[in-house]
Every structure is written in C-alpha cells, then in structure tokens.
C-alpha cells in the first residue's frame, strides 16, 4: 500500500515536470533545426546561432537585459537595505505610508504601474530610452528588497547595535559592522529577487522603453509577428545560462555542507 502511494506521487510529479520542461526542450531542439519550420525537424544546423550573433538588435537586447538587471539589482539592494533599516526604526505614520506605497507598487497589476510611470515620464518630458527603463526597474525592485530584508531586521536585538554605539562605534560603523552582517543572507536573497524581477520583466519595460532600446522580453514580443527561429537560439542561450547559474548556486552549498560534515566526522 505504502509502495503504491509512493509510485502515485512519483507519477504525478513526473507528469508535472514533463509539462514544465516540454516547451523548454522543444525550443532547445528546434534551435538546431536546419529549416525555418517550428514543427518539422529537418536536420542539424547552427545557422540560427550564426544569424543570432549577426543580428545586432538581438545581441543588444541581451546586453540591455543583463546591464539593466545588474545595475538595477545593485542600486535597489543598497537603497532598499538602507531604507528598510530606516523603516525598522521609524515612527508609525511614516512607516505606514512607506509600507502602503510599497504594497501598492507590488500588488498593483504590472500594466497599471507601467502606464503610471509612462504618464509620469511623459509629463516631465523625459525622453524614453535606457534611462527611463533603468529608473523604472530600480523603482519596482526596491520594494521587493525591502520585503526580503524587513522581517530579518524585526528579529534583530536592538541592544547589540546599542552596545556597539556605547563602545565607541560611530553610527556608520554600527551599521556596517553590526547590523548589516546580521542581515547579510536576507540582503542576498533580496538581491536575487530583484535580479529575477528585472530580468523577467516585460510589461513595465514595454511601456517605458524608447526607440532602439529593447531588452530580451520586448525583443521577443516584437519579433513574434513573423516566424524567426533565431529566437529559439536566443532562448536556448538564456536557458543554458540560467540553468548553469541555478545549478551552481544550489549545488555549491550542498557540496560545502557535505565537506563540512565529512570534516566533522574526521575530527
């Protein structure tokens, strides 16, 4: 009976994973197709990769997505962490105002945030392009960083920072030597969320970017009107890059843990 149940569970999980990975495998296979077809595999070729590397807009979209995600992550992590520390010490009124505004940003449908920013930039006559795109990404990433850091700050013992100040630390030292080391993990996970949100975003980017500035999402959206198998090659590269990063991130701690346990056993 127990055995049966295990098999049932495994079957359900297997079916779900097939559903999740089918399109991904499909894209990878058809990126090596020798014809334009998306349904008949006619033979192996690398022509779509060659076309991709020759396509300037496509290569630029990879550059823009990566650059914006990296800069937006760096800025929003720093600003978000500082703001979250300030938030944890603030009085009720300002705390409530900032928290509600952050919630508004996170819960609002993306498209509403997007048109809000579009109307905002156009009212100020800011030219749409890299600058507006980057600023928009920073704006929507910060609340997620704060959401990740704030719960950890609430658990901190205030007395430790207080003690640091009593022992002659400047406030900046108390921040960098006492508070930040204690919330390091939450900051890292906030940064990861920010990076994914930025790299994955389509809706907000679509409304605030300008002519000639496409990230991967807006490029794919604009190029689906006609069949363009180079998009398969582009997708394959992204899938490969993300899989490598995720596997390294998840396997390295496992290996480290195993090594630590081994060392403990030997000691």
């Amino acid at each position: 009976m127990k055995q049966n149940k295990q098999w049932g569970s495994k079957l359900i999980i297997a079916l779900a994973l097939i559903f999740f990975y089918l399109p991904i495998i499909y894209v990878v296979i058809f990126s090596f197709n020798s014809s334009r077809s998306l349904s008949n595999f006619t033979g192996f070729s690398l022509q779509w990769y060659k076309k991709m590397f020759e396509n300037r807009t496509m290569m630029e979209s990879i550059y823009y997505s990566t650059a914006i995600a990296l800069i937006a992550t760096a800025v929003s992590t720093v600003v978000g962490t500082i703001a979250a520390i300030g938030l944890s010490k603030s009085n009720r009124v300002i705390k409530e105002y900032v928290t509600q505004a952050n919630n508004l940003s996170m819960l609002n449908p993306d498209i509403v945030t997007a048109i809000g920013l579009m109307l905002f930039f156009s009212s100020l006559h800011v030219p749409f392009g890299f600058g507006t795109l980057l600023l928009a990404h920073i704006i929507f990433c910060i609340p997620y960083v704060m959401l990740s850091v704030s719960p950890k700050l609430r658990q901190l013992d205030d007395n430790i920072a207080e003690a640091a100040l009593d022992l002659g630390c400047t406030p900046v030292q108390a921040l960098t030597k006492v508070i930040i080391p204690q919330i390091k993990e939450a900051i890292v996970s906030g940064a990861l969320i920010a990076f994914t949100m930025s790299f994955d975003d389509f809706v907000i980017s679509y409304f605030v970017t300008g002519p000639g500035v496409n990230n991967i999402s807006t490029y794919v959206y604009s190029s689906v009107k006609r069949i363009n198998p180079s998009v398969n090659a582009l997708s394959t590269i992204i899938i490969l890059a993300i899989t490598i990063v995720l596997v390294v991130m998840n396997v390295v701690p496992l290996v480290r843990e195993r090594r630590r346990k081994k060392n403990e056993k030997m000691a």
């Binding site: 779900a16 058809f30 998306l38 449908p109 509403v112 809706v203 689906v224």
Partner: protein, 258 residues
C-alpha cells in the same frame, strides 16, 4: 539608534515621487479627456460612461475575469496533487523537486510563452485553448510552491492523531490536511488570479490577436491609438475589479480561520 530613522527620509520622498505621483496621474488621466492642459483640467466621467455603455468593453472585461478565474481553478486542481505528492517525498528529494519546479520560473516569461508557440502552431486547438495552456503553464509553479509551503509546515503527528482517533486516510485528509493548506491555496490564488486578469502578452502570443483581453485593450489605447485618458480609465476599472475580488478571497480566508 533613533538616528537611523533618518535613513528612511530619502526613500519616503522617492516613494512619493515614483509610486504615489504616477498612480495619481493615472487617476487624473482617467477623469479627464484629452485636450486638457495640466493646469486647466476639468474632471469628467465621460471615459467611464463610454466604457460601461459599450457592450464590447464589458464583454472583454468579463472574458478577462472568466479567463483568470478558470486559470486559477485549473491551477488549484492541477497544483494541489503535485504539491501534495512533493510533500510526501523524502526531505532531500523534496528540495530537489522544488528546485526542478522553480528552474523554469527563472527563464524569462516571454521566452517560456514563445516556447509554446512552436508546439501549438500546428495543432487544431482554438485560440482560447492555446491561451489557457499558456496561462496555466506560466502560473502553475506559483500555485504548487505556495501549497507545498503550507503542506510542508504541517505537523505529521496531526495525521497520526487523526488516525488514532478513528479517521481513515480519506477523512484525515479532508478534515486535517486540506483545511490546514487553505492559507497556501489563498496565497496561490493571489499569485495567479491577480496577474492573470491583466496579462496581455500570453493572449497576444498564443491567441494570435483574435483573443482580446482587458490588458490588450489598455495596450491598444496607450500604444496604438494614443487615447491615454480612456486607457487610464480602463486600467482604473480593472484595478478596482481586481481589488474587490481579492477582498472577497481574503474574506473567505478569514471566515476559514474563525
């Protein structure tokens, strides 16, 4: 220590400028018509009257809500067994399966949706069916992870107790496991229903333009026709409808807890 509160001040200004003001702008645009300058605008309900007097707009809104609702229901019924199955595995394999469910979510949403195009291109499915597949594909992982989280927090001794007290497995599931996983289902609903109502690239990519949702309407008025006032009014109506339906779900959550 109190001095640290000053760290929030710049961000409080930032939030006002970049979150509050843009939202106010959407409202101002929704309650005005084009041709008004910022200084001399006159408030009007014309945009809303136009929306509610045209049955096409109402039917598009209704279709979006229906699509989001059915997508959410499908995600619950497909996601629950998967989450439950994962929670019954050995702890090590659980972490592995969660990772495997998470990996596709890291791949750009547009790229994932594009991937389905090739598979669905030669099938005879209706545009509507294709859109549903794309929606469920994109949102199912959120539902699985939320339900799994609430199931994995459950104390297994509760089931042993239920069995000892005379519940068979089916009854123990219905009386113990399922009620305890309701918070997971609720947060899953938030993560699926909310973005599903306003999604517009999945219908465009997979439905081929013949399946118009409220998100496509907004896009159309902002990008193609340039009637920003009407577009803003549509997004305001959508936001209000979404918030009301979320209130309803939250209410259900609280009545469960009582």
């Amino acid at each position: 220590m109190k001095g640290f509160r000053r760290l929030l001040y710049p961000y409080a200004v930032w939030v006002g400028a970049f979150i509050v003001v843009p939202m106010l702008l959407v409202m101002i645009y929704a309650f005005t018509t084009s041709g008004n300058s910022v200084l001399t605008f006159r408030l009007t309900l014309a945009n809303f009257a136009r929306f509610f007097s045209d049955s096409i707009f109402i039917s598009v809104l209704w279709r979006s809500l229906k699509l989001a609702f059915i997508t959410t229901v499908i995600c619950i019924f497909l996601g629950y067994p998967v989450a439950y199955a994962i929670s019954r595995l050995k702890p090590g394999s659980q972490a592995m399966m969660v990772l495997l469910v998470t990996i596709p979510m890291w791949i750009n949403m547009l790229v994932r949706t594009y991937a389905w195009r090739g598979i669905l291109l030669e099938t005879n499915l209706s545009p509507e069916a294709k859109v549903y597949i794309g929606m469920v594909y994109n949102f199912l992982p959120f539902m699985i992870l939320e339900i799994y989280t609430s199931l994995s927090k459950m104390d297994p001794n509760l089931l042993v107790a239920a069995n000892d007290l005379g519940c068979d497995n089916r009854k123990a599931f219905l009386k113990v496991t399922l009620p305890l996983s309701v918070p997971g289902i609720i947060s899953g609903i938030t993560l699926v229903f909310l973005p599903a109502v306003s999604s517009f690239f999945i219908p465009k990519l997979l439905g081929g333009g013949s399946f118009v949702l409220v998100g496509n309407l907004i896009e159309n008025y902002f990008v193609t026709t340039g009637d920003w006032n009407f577009g803003a009014a549509i997004s305001l109506i959508m936001t209000i409808v979404v918030l009301l339906s979320m209130r309803l779900t939250k209410h259900f959550d609280y009545s469960q807890e009582d």
